[in-house]
Symmetry: C2
Subunit: 312 residues, 2 copies
Amino acid sequence: MTEFGFIEHIRTLFAALPANGFEGIGDDCAVLPLDGDEALVFTTDLLVENVHFLRSAASAREVGRKALAVNLSDIAAMGARPVATLLSLALPPDAAGTWAEEFMEGYRSLSEESGAALVGGDTTRSADGIAINVVAIGRARQKHLKRRSDARPGNVVFVAGALGASGSGLRDILAGCCDTPLAAIHRNPQPQLAEGLWLGTRPEVRAMMDLSDGLASDIHHILDRSGTGAAIEIDRIPVAAGSDLETAACAGEDYKLLLTAEAAGAERLAADFGERFGTPLHPIGRITAGGGLVWLRDGEPVPLDWQGFRHY
Amino acid sequence: MTEFGFIEHIRTLFAALPANGFEGIGDDCAVLPLDGDEALVFTTDLLVENVHFLRSAASAREVGRKALAVNLSDIAAMGARPVATLLSLALPPDAAGTWAEEFMEGYRSLSEESGAALVGGDTTRSADGIAINVVAIGRARQKHLKRRSDARPGNVVFVAGALGASGSGLRDILAGCCDTPLAAIHRNPQPQLAEGLWLGTRPEVRAMMDLSDGLASDIHHILDRSGTGAAIEIDRIPVAAGSDLETAACAGEDYKLLLTAEAAGAERLAADFGERFGTPLHPIGRITAGGGLVWLRDGEPVPLDWQGFRHY
């Protein structure tokens, strides 16, 4: 069973249970509308040693920042502001001292930058490797929340930054070159918190999510949830310096925002974004009524077997 | 560094960060008061294979129930009602199929009994053992929330059930006897959800928490947070059938509620509890103005070096 097969199995298994005011599973975060015009959003990520990080290739401080960053990116993708986190740590004896303290310093530095309080957690021994679970809680006005299900045919598809740096950095690390600029980018993802919050306030933005498994994989979540297709012009995919087009389209962990916007307001949105953040919002294609995902070159479909990161 | 030393270190490290409306760390759950008279509470527990459970000694279904139960017990200890959970699973290849499905069945059965929705999560590969992180979210009226810090000198100390069954069951399991009744109790803890909710509504109840590490260890959390001492009459500690006094006082994972109540209303409270639940609320001693924790036999202090479960 793949990860997505298992998640689908779980969704079916729990479908009959009361929702207690929560929206259904399927977005970057779970959503709990509050009385009044606000909502809370919740996300969680579990990082496991030798799967998500190698102690030999990333400092404890970097792992601490990254464990939080990947969760904050999900909060940003909803158009929400991070308010709090809970942290669970399973530590083998050789990580319970200095490693854990340096991990916490990294976790703290991004907590401070993002304004998120640490409100709870759990620490325990581990028999084998380190395991880290982070829960992030965000807050937003209900009308500013962005969901994967709101793409509409004709929407322009944007990415909010260049892609592929993290994937190429991982390749460097796996080749034993841990001190390249791209390897540093892989170890230090920057969640687009200000960008996500700002995009949340823009009514012309429809669907939004963050790119954690790669464009070629992640965009299907928007298409599946919205019941649409998409045509992506591969020459418009912004490729990070030192990376390449296939890595930009297929590799994971860039943590850039992927969004769709109403065609009528798209140009204005991109101009305002560029003015606000000093970096462009890259239009890479269109949402279509159907037809799945089509890659285009010079306006013509190209058959490409591009896949994003596969979990197992 | 012990677990509690590390938690204290973290508390100091994060003290200067904004709280965003959350109460400080120190209770079974983090508390977020909402507008109006309600509050949300949050708790998380990380379970690691070969530390918290052995695949050879517990079925996947039992592990699924227990992973949820220990979190729901924290919700009950606040006087709150569970509303939702998030579940993270790291699975080695040999657990990604049948084991994971049976785990989810156990998790589902207690979700259904407790009325908690599953609203999010994460699944990933693991290089070594299974890791399971559960976050439980509860809801309560603010005035019904119970905290560890509200014990007052003169309060009666109660436990809401007999102790030691889980500890004696663990001893059976470690001796290779997995099919004893006590071993079954160890693998299938029952969070006192209805009891916690009911006790939350009683104004004479002051401090409350659940017993996860053993009375001898856990009661110190109430004493430390309330700035009080306690005198516990060891012959009044209710010992579960098949267990013994020292195990009842020191072993963990009974998940019974420990609470203090104003002396004036204590008898009425115990009578009402007995009538409502058909099982007694056991008075085991008194909160004192100071003097730490004192064990009494026939009203006289007895020097006992009883310790609860130590995390590392």
